[in-house]
């Protein structure tokens, strides 16, 4: 057990990996924690490390640590904490991102079909105003959007197909970002002073291929994220201005592989890339590529 952890940590340190998501504000990775009715363990710990390529020359190494409590075959709760490092021409900034509290409920399987629901909250650890030497940074370098979000959705599984729909709504804006592109010396990132973010709707359709029963499966999926409105910021004249082009659709291709090397231990890998992105992406969430490795330990 410890050997595996040490190997993972060693890999993380050597390659300085990190990541955040695939064009969403966090729910993209939450639903992967969904419990399965056949799960027999009461507790699961998950650690993930990922590498992401962002806008301009920014790249990310992101981690999360999650704990899932399976109360019964239907009901589970997950707590998750994220940490992200962004590195680019502004420098390097590492900080805790958000804490997630997520509840999942799975209804009984009927005729190979199963419904589930998800309800959760996201709390930021920062006001999205991290700086380097007093220099304001764009949202692409922030570990959190600085909003308290609620999300809710549903999940339908039929045979090997899986469809998920989730809406993520920022209902308390704590964002105090103070980045102005006009004072930064670069036009790579839009101004996001006192950024105000709009909700997202997410739809994911996937299919599970069992390569080796009980051992190895592949789950390719399409993930669509629709940003439900134009984000806005406060300009240098203290006027709130909409960021035109910031609403709209992002479509990602995701492939996820799960290898169970013991009954209670799994390794997951995920590869994701967008096929279509919004015209303007001020939130810094878009990645041209995400590669993630996750270890799950159940007990």
């Amino acid at each position: 057990m410890r050997v595996y952890l040490i190997v993972i940590c060693f890999v993380c340190c050597v390659f300085n990996l990190k990541a955040q998501g695939c064009s969403d504000a966090g729910v993209c990775t939450v639903n992967s924690l969904n419990s399965k009715e056949e799960d027999i363990f009461k507790n699961t710990l998950a650690y993930s490390v990922s590498y992401g390529k962002g806008e301009a020359d920014v790249f990310y190494v992101a981690h999360f640590l999650a704990y899932t409590k399976q109360w019964n075959p239907q009901l589970s709760f997950t707590a998750k904490v994220t940490l992200s490092t962004a590195k680019g021409s502004f420098g390097t900034r590492t900080q805790f991102g958000d804490a997630f509290l997520v509840g999942n409920y799975l209804f009984k399987t009927k005729k190979k079909s199963q419904w589930g629901t998800i309800l959760g909250l996201k709390f930021p650890f920062t006001a999205s105003n991290l700086k380097i030497n007093g220099y304001s940074l764009p949202l692409d370098y922030q570990s959190s959007l600085g909003t308290i979000d609620g999300f809710f959705g549903g999940n339908w599984r039929y045979k090997n197909w899986n469809v998920e729909g989730i809406v993520q709504v920022p209902f308390v804006n704590l964002n105090k970002n103070s980045y102005f592109s006009e004072y930064s010396g670069t036009t790579d990132f839009p101004s996001t002073n006192l950024f105000q973010r709009q909700p997202d709707a997410l739809l994911k359709v996937g299919y599970r291929y069992t390569i080796t029963p009980q051992k190895f499966s592949l789950n390719p999926s399409l993930l669509a994220v629709y940003h439900l409105g134009e984000d806005s910021y406060t300009n240098i004249f203290n006027q709130q201005v909409a960021l035109e082009g910031s609403s709209g659709l992002t479509v990602n291709g995701v492939i996820n592989g799960v290898y169970s090397f013991q009954k209670n231990q799994q390794i997951e890998f995920t590869l994701a890339t967008p096929f279509a992105v919004r015209d303007v992406r001020p939130d810094g969430l878009t990645r041209s590529l995400v590669v993630a490795l996750q270890y799950n330990y159940s007990f």
Partner: protein, 142 residues
């Protein structure tokens, strides 16, 4: 098994906490402007600090090569989080122009077409916690 889980949580928590880092700024700091020897002093103000804020300082506005530029002079007002320099219509931050982060050595380039009869105050304001640190009324210089 429970013993194992505690060890794992402790180990991973320490790993995550040890990763917090504020690196070195590698972007060129965009200093607003320079003052040429021909710059003319047009406005000046003395800062008055608000309650519980200590220090002093002045502000000078120059007309230089057709543009107005703001410079902080003898600035010793105490530091705070997320301090900004505002050009304001009053001594409170209601209608203002945000000139950017406070950097006492920086020369701030003022946007074009700003009327100093309207924007006749300079404020030092903490944006993140919405707390005014100091204000000064601009006085035209002969």
């Amino acid at each position: 098994m429970k013993k194992h889980s505690k060890t794992i949580v402790l180990f991973l928590s320490l790993l995550l906490m040890s990763c917090q880092e504020e690196g070195v700024l590698t972007q060129r700091r965009p200093v607003g402007a320079d003052l040429t020897p021909n710059a003319l002093l047009r406005y000046q103000a003395n800062f008055t600090t608000t309650d519980f804020i200590s220090g002093a300082g002045k502000v000078a506005i120059y007309l230089d090569e057709g543009r107005y530029k703001l410079k902080l002079v003898d600035y010793t007002i105490q530091e705070g989080p997320d301090l900004k320099v505002y050009l304001s219509q009053s001594d409170v931050p209601n209608n203002f122009i945000n000139l950017g982060n406070l950097e006492p050595s920086q020369i701030y380039l003022i946007p074009e077409n700003v009327s100093f009869s309207t924007y006749n105050y300079v404020l030092i304001h903490c944006q993140q916690y919405n707390h005014l640190f100091a204000h000064g009324q601009l006085i035209p210089q002969p």
